[in-house]
Subunit: 193 residues, 2 copies
């Protein structure tokens, strides 16, 4: 029996990623975001929804570029720190002793220690309620060679990304392999078809 | 050392959810989606990006309502099946022997056997490249009582949601608890502040 628990923003799980930007003085900043999602395949685009007055939102709308960094689970404290402080008041990279690297394709920094980064160009902004939804075209993807598989794609078991559970506000790791997409569903037999 | 691996739609992980709709004859349909994300907290909104001519996209734009169902990992085959077949040609609920239930708050069906469902009203459509980004306001959330914690919120360890790895196209479970958000980051000591 299902119970109404009220309207709330809730997907289990969301990714937990870190958005990299420069401010108007060129200071690099990193902010954790979970209200994110892929929103187009051709061209590849990602959306990041941010509070209207957040420092990162201001940076993106001014510079027109940002990075989306996929952290490994070993950085859970740093990722949470990036989410609970504002770059308006501090140098977050310096605080957590992680390294901003200037992207060679977009005007934004990425986090050297995180294994995977999307380099994005702002292509649209949609205002929704209290949020600005910032849509970035993914111009390039960079990965640490150590996380690539034989096909040259990132192995999620080597990336060891973090995930986030809204509502209960907890971080988790990824777990066991469940199956191959576009494949395991074919095992379902359809009678009389 | 980071290596360019080319522009592609890639977040690790994405959720793997199932979108429920009715077609113009009232036939319930279910489609798997991973290009999804929360995009506003006030009011709570979710975006689902779908191919321009998909059956589910047509249903949502006609009916103006949809559900987003969070499956448990035990249904990995059914979820994959929902992603590799089109409701234009078959009754997917009947094929996989899952049960469509008419929502009492939106004109869309949800999946009875899945523990968590968001009931959504279409509020905006944004065209991006090859995709339509459909934005739904979350009107209510329903959960199986068996997955609720003492605070009446869904326990992600009981929901046992699935996650998806694009690029390598694999499904995973959630893993270990890593820490409490808005909390564990406070352990980082900031020198001289």
């Amino acid at each position: 029996m299902k119970k109404n628990i009220g309207a709330r923003p809730l997907i289990y799980p969301t990714p937990a990623v870190v958005v990299g930007t420069y401010d108007q003085e060129g200071k690099p900043n990193a902010m954790t975001a979970a209200w994110v999602g892929l929103c187009c395949s051709t061209p590849p685009c990602i959306m990041v929804a941010l509070g209207r007055n957040s420092y990162t939102n201001e940076n993106i709308q001014m510079k027109k570029f940002f990075t989306v960094n996929i952290p490994s689970q070993q950085y859970v404290k740093e990722v949470d720190y990036f989410g609970i402080t504002s770059g308006k008041n501090t140098d977050k990279f310096e605080d957590v002793k992680l390294t901003p690297v200037a992207s060679d394709v977009v005007d934004a920094p990425y986090v050297k220690e995180f294994p995977l980064v999307l380099e994005c160009k702002l292509v649209d902004v949609l205002k929704i309620g209290s949020a600005d939804q910032l849509i970035g075209e993914i111009i390039d993807v960079k990965a640490d060679e150590s996380v690539l598989n034989e096909a040259g794609l990132p192995d999620i078991e080597k990336v060891q990304p973090m995930l986030y559970a809204p509502a209960i506000r907890q971080y988790y790791s990824i777990g066991n392999h469940l199956g191959k997409a576009y494949s395991i569903g074919k095992e379902i037999k359809i009678a009389d078809k």
